[in-house]
């Protein structure tokens, strides 16, 4: 009798397991399918966005070759370089800003701490690009809206306000036991030393997370980039370039190259992301697990 019960329980469990796995497989297929589609399209030999079959009729590497060599209309290699330069500089500045603000809010106690946190929260509620036009005029007044200064302008746009995004890093610093700091103070360390020699080395996950998010921002944003670059195609970032490839006048020729470009941008980002997502998870859940 008892044997029978365990047996039926076991088959029930097995059925349940099969259902769960099948369900997950279907979901995973839905999530991977569009990505798979882009990769297929990037190797498609027939041009244009119109297709009548899921799989391409013939395959080619031409889209990739053309993307990097046909630089008359849309200079993709240059856009890639622009974005890389902007990303590196804005990443350095934002990381410094975010970590400093987060440390101040978490560890230092001063009069303007609470007001600063409240103001940062309130500012975060305004739609970011509501002030986009104003930002453009400010950059113009500062003489940063023409020529090579556009790169500086973009770096500033992506990094200047980053100090407001301190919440996650602050949450992380909050989980580092204060006793460690106090021990260092007793040994005569200054606050700066505690910040650079204790807190920073203990915060690898959140630093990686901050570096990653701020490095990615210029690759992903195209709204600000579009408003600031306007018609200066020499300083376009990858995002504007890809967006332009899908505009009406280019889509027929450039659609498959767009797919190739999307793959080229996505692969490094995806590798970084998948490799670093454990840091992301750790950063979310704190430094010292309870």
């Amino acid at each position: 009798m008892a044997k029978q019960i365990t047996k039926s329980y076991k088959t029930k469990k097995r059925i349940k397991n099969v259902i769960v796995h099948a369900f997950l497989a279907i979901l995973a297929a839905i999530w991977v399918l569009p990505i798979f589609w882009v990769i297929l399209t990037s190797f498609r030999a027939e041009p244009g966005s119109y297709v009548d079959s899921f799989f391409p009729k013939s395959y080619t590497l031409d889209n990739y070759v053309k993307l990097f060599t046909d630089t008359n209309i849309l200079n993709f290699p240059k856009m890639f370089l622009n974005t890389l330069i902007i990303a590196i500089f804005s990443c350095i500045i934002s990381c410094f800003f975010v970590l400093s603000v987060a440390y101040c809010m978490s560890r230092l106690r001063f009069k303007l701490r609470k007001p600063f946190m409240n103001i940062a929260m309130i500012l975060g509620l305004f739609p970011g690009f509501m002030s986009m036009i104003a930002v453009y005029y400010i950059l113009k007044t500062l003489g940063l809206s023409e020529g090579g200064m556009i790169r500086v302008a973009l770096v500033l746009v992506y990094s200047a306000g980053s100090g407001m995004g301190f919440y996650i890093a602050k949450g992380f610093f909050d989980t580092i036991p204060k006793a460690i700091d106090e021990a260092a103070y007793i040994d005569g360390a200054t606050k700066w030393q505690v910040f650079t020699k204790l807190t920073i080395p203990l915060s690898k996950p959140i630093i990686v997370y901050t570096v990653l998010t701020s490095f990615l921002a210029p690759w992903l944003d195209f709204i600000f980039a579009k408003v600031i670059c306007r018609a200066n195609s020499d300083y376009y970032t990858v995002a504007i370039g890809l967006w332009n490839m899908l505009s009406k006048e280019y889509i027929d020729v450039w659609y498959t190259r767009f797919a190739a470009g999307a793959v080229c941008v996505s692969i490094p980002i995806a590798i970084l992301f998948v490799y670093l997502q454990r840091y992301y998870a750790e950063g979310m859940s704190g430094a010292v697990k309870g």
Binding site: N17, P127, S131, A270
Partner: protein, 458 residues
């Protein structure tokens, strides 16, 4: 609470406050109010005093050359239009520069910012001079300039670390915001040709937007309604399904956990605008999905993904699920593993099934821990420009309307300013978006544990 506040006040009480400086300062401290740095010179803090003095001189120079002019122009926002005068001698039209209200407004606001900044430094100078006076009279040690610099790395570290970020926020976030907000009170718009010269009009634009009887007003209320519906659905469906997915993957019996996670996380790793643009081309009337379905013989006419109102609204919500669920899954996985296992054990012993366990243990626990996350998600969705703009572009748009049926307040704001150049109305919409978000966020956020008891976590 009251007690708490009192304690806080005491914690930061400053014996060298500005009020004390005014009442008890000696002649040199009082002189500092006119000639900044005077008090410091008296106490031999020459470098500090010189810096203050230099700052004051620079500010006065700026005000005399530009500042007062900028401020004087602010109330009228400029009157002189650009005019062409026929020059007989040269045989050409010579154009006078004319006023540009936009620049006048920006310079005016920037001047006000500098003025406020100057007042703050001025207060600091008087206070610091009073402090020197007090310390000197008590025979205590006065910091040399070198020691002041060194203190930036220790007790004044906050000052050192925050200067850069705060300046960045001031110039690139607050200044533009004030600039845009003030535009809401002007008639800066292509309507009536006010693109170069415009004037203050008070609350007129707010009246236009809130009025049911004109086209902008009607559109505002319908866009606001859809924005809220969208935000609620997008937030809670993503949250719920993301959590269920995380639970499914986290189950003890599920195999290949990291493989499943990888599949879903891959979609985050692809830049959002790329995946959204691809979805958009796939779902066009002649796009891949429709063509494939027709070829398979399942449908005879194209499915109206972005051309029919209901279809479009459901499509954007569903595609947003595709975008959002992996995020929630990633965020939630770690927290789920932190739920005490005893809770589940005892529920099992009491004979609770999976649904009851989810409703009575998992969901309440998660809601408690992730309320701040939910609020950020909600505000993020109200401001979710990318998904709407890249997918449907706000379409379908009725003929003659400025807002489409899937337009959110933010995408409408974008269209009004960038495409239509109704800058003043756009600024009003931006302010209303903020008001909606502020109400939601403040009401919920103030009630969460993590705000009330920040240190409670430790």
């Amino acid at each position: 609470m009251k007690f708490n506040k009192k304690k806080k006040m005491k914690e930061f009480q400053d014996p060298y406050s500005f009020a004390n400086a005014v009442t008890e300062g000696d002649s040199m401290t009082k002189l500092s109010m006119v000639i900044m740095g005077a008090g410091h010179f008296k106490h031999k803090q020459f470098i500090k005093g010189a810096l203050f003095l230099l700052f004051e001189l620079a500010f006065i120079l700026f005000m005399v050359t530009n500042g007062f002019y900028n401020l004087s122009k602010l109330p009228g926002l400029g009157e002189a239009a650009q005019e062409g005068v026929w020059n007989e001698a040269k045989g050409i039209y010579e154009y006078s520069t004319g006023d540009n209200s936009l620049t006048i407004l920006l310079y005016g606001i920037a001047t006000i910012f500098l003025l406020i900044g100057f007042i703050l430094v001025w207060r600091l100078c008087v206070k610091s001079s009073y402090k020197s006076q007090k310390l000197a009279s008590e025979g205590k040690h006065l910091n040399t300039f070198k020691e002041d610099i060194a203190s930036l790395l220790d007790e004044n570290l906050a000052g050192l670390l925050l200067t850069g970020p705060v300046l960045g926020i001031l110039i690139f976030t607050i200044l533009p915001l004030v600039y845009m907000i003030s535009m809401a009170f002007t008639n800066y718009s292509i309507k009536g040709n006010h693109l170069v010269l415009f004037d203050w009009v008070g609350l007129k634009n707010f009246g236009t937007v809130l009025n049911f009887n004109n086209s902008i007003g009607k559109e505002f209320w319908s866009v606001l309604g859809w924005t809220l519906v969208w935000a609620v659905f997008a937030t809670f469906l993503n949250y719920l399904f993301g959590m269920l997915l995380a639970i499914l993957i986290n189950r003890k019996e599920t195999h290949w956990k990291s493989f499943w996670r990888f599949c879903f996380i891959l979609s985050i790793a692809v830049p959002q605008f790329v995946s959204l643009l691809i979805m958009r081309t796939m779902l066009q009337p002649e796009g891949a999905v429709n063509v494939l379905l027709k070829n398979a013989g399942w449908i005879s006419t194209s499915l109206p993904f972005f051309t029919d109102v209901t279809w479009a609204r459901v499509s954007v919500i569903v595609i947003n699920l595709w975008v959002g669920i992996p995020y929630t899954m990633m965020q939630v996985t770690g927290i789920l593993q932190n739920i005490p296992a005893e809770l589940y054990e005892s529920a099992k012993i009491d004979g609770a099934n999976a649904f009851v366990t989810f409703m009575k243990i998992t969901l309440p626990y998660m809601l408690f821990v992730t309320t701040p996350y939910l609020i950020t998600q909600f505000t993020g969705n109200v401001n979710n420009f990318n998904v709407i703009y890249l997918l449907s572009g706000g379409d379908p748009t009725p003929v003659g309307a400025t807002a489409g049926k899937t337009d959110l307040l933010v995408t409408w704001l974008y269209k009004l300013t960038i495409d239509k150049q109704y800058y003043s109305i756009g600024a009003v919409i931006g302010i209303f978006t903020f008001i909606v978000l502020a109400i939601v966020a403040l009401v919920t956020y103030r009630n969460t544990g993590s705000y009330k008891d920040e240190e409670g976590f430790m």
